[in-house]
Amino acid sequence: MALPKKIKKTIDLIPNKTGYERREQLLEYIQEDGTYLPKSILHADLDRGMLDFVKNDLQTILDGKVIPTVDIIITTQNWAQFTETWNFQDLDKNVKPPFVTTVRRPEVPYGSNPSLQYTIPNRKQFYYAKVPTWDGQRKGVDIYKIPQPIPVDITYEVKIFVNRMRGLNEFNKNVLQKFSSRQAYTNIKGHYIPIILNNISDESVLDLDKRKYYIQNYEFQMLGFLMDEEEFELVPGVSRALTLYEVSNKTKARKANIQPPRPNEFDLDIQFLNGNTSVHERFSYMVDLNLTSTNNVDDFSVYINDDYVGDNVTKLQINTNDLIRFEIVKDVPSNDSIIKWEATLQ
């Protein structure tokens, strides 16, 4: 009795990915082996994919044994060369039923896949991916371009050779279950390729005086496409220069240069404008003054903090916050006078 549909016959140990994670997984399939480009697909790849599909997806078990599959496409090559190493051969080194074989029609016409019809002329290249590059100095991108894949329709005839009707039934059940929606998919180098079941016919050998066995022919059409990696194009895109600076990680402060320079010795001129005979100045620093010269000065008197120091002194020692007062007698009262000192900070 068949199991109810709600009962799962097998349980996946690893949950299937869905949504965004599934899309990432598909991208990884395409880009595995370290290339950013899709895998090249040619006739041999499609044939190999069909053989794997027949071997794995249409696997049929009869009397507890897997019906062996001829794992090559049948061509014009001498059949006997292949059969000698197989384990399902008889006394005469002929393959013995049951077995499944795949025959490809040699002609491969332009494909009927509606998504790949005559839409883009002249093998125009299209942007496929932008790949970052780094040559040690410059960061940039390479632009990968590929042309539109070429659709092809390949017709395969999968034939089952069996001695008993039960074998036909089992294989037929597997095929129809797989193709219940008319088409099935096989994964060839990361690309999902649709396969359509076109026809089922019987070619059984039922001659009276001959060995009798059933042959049923399942005609499949693979809606494949060709992508030749020789046609892929790689062009450099935008590149950007990157300049690196190397700086010290020490935190020691640098001594700042004082602008303008402040020397310890400088000239200090005391001017007396026309009509002025007294000047006072409060010093905010300690300094020694040495008289260097006078101009239009007959004599002068010096007072520190209103204390008389002397007349015509040539040296003065001034402390911080001292108030110095100079009183002069001019040679020519109508002219300006000046007393020049050389100041030395203490």
């Binding site: 059949w79 008889d90 005469d92 034939k159 039960r166 050998v205 009276l208 005086d209 060995r211 042959i215």
Partner: protein
């Protein structure tokens, strides 16, 4: 077969039942004594063989056999044929059919009959035997060729086609 027996009187001016018996015995002497072609008949026990209820096909390992019998007859093996299997491109050399001519009187003496589906083993060498399946048991012997000059039928022509060793490989 009818229980009523009717004497055969045709050809009686120059041929009789005694002559027929003599010639048959001479022929058997030549075939069995001089030629001495022998083969082994594996008769299928149709009562004990396990069959599929729907298709009548024998289930795996389900064929049962009567004890094998060694018989003598006139054997001919046809030439092998290189051809495709059906419409596929799988070409292979198929061994030729086995044709056996055997005296009906001899079969009656041995108490065996050869029927469709029985297997015949023929030793080509000491260590190589090929098996055949009977595809024509030659049960109809009414034609002129199987009669002795039109007098009475006296032998059967059996045709058997080779089988693979997964179908039958001896008992």
């Amino acid at each position: 077969m009818s229980q009523r027996k009717v004497p055969i009187t045709r050809l009686n001016k120059f041929f009789s039942g005694e002559d027929f018996g003599l010639d048959i015995s001479m022929g058997q002497e030549w075939l069995h004594g001089d030629m001495n072609f022998s083969f082994v008949l594996y008769r299928v026990d149709k009562q004990r063989t396990k069959k599929d209820d729907v298709y009548g096909e024998v289930v795996s390992e389900g064929i049962q056999y009567h004890p094998p019998v060694e018989l003598k007859g006139y054997l001919q093996i046809e030439a092998p044929e290189n051809k495709f299997m059906g419409n596929s491109r799988i070409d292979q050399v198929e061994p030729g059919n086995l044709k056996v001519g055997i005296y009906q009187d001899y079969l009656d003496q041995m108490g065996v009959d050869i029927e469709f589906g029985d297997y015949i083993g023929y030793y080509e060498k000491e260590d190589k035997v090929r098996y055949y399946s009977v595809v024509d048991d030659g049960r109809i012997t009414s034609d002129n060729r199987h009669t002795y000059g039109g007098y009475k039928p006296f032998y059967r022509s059996i045709t058997a086609s080779p089988v693979t060793n997964d179908e039958f490989n001896g008992i």
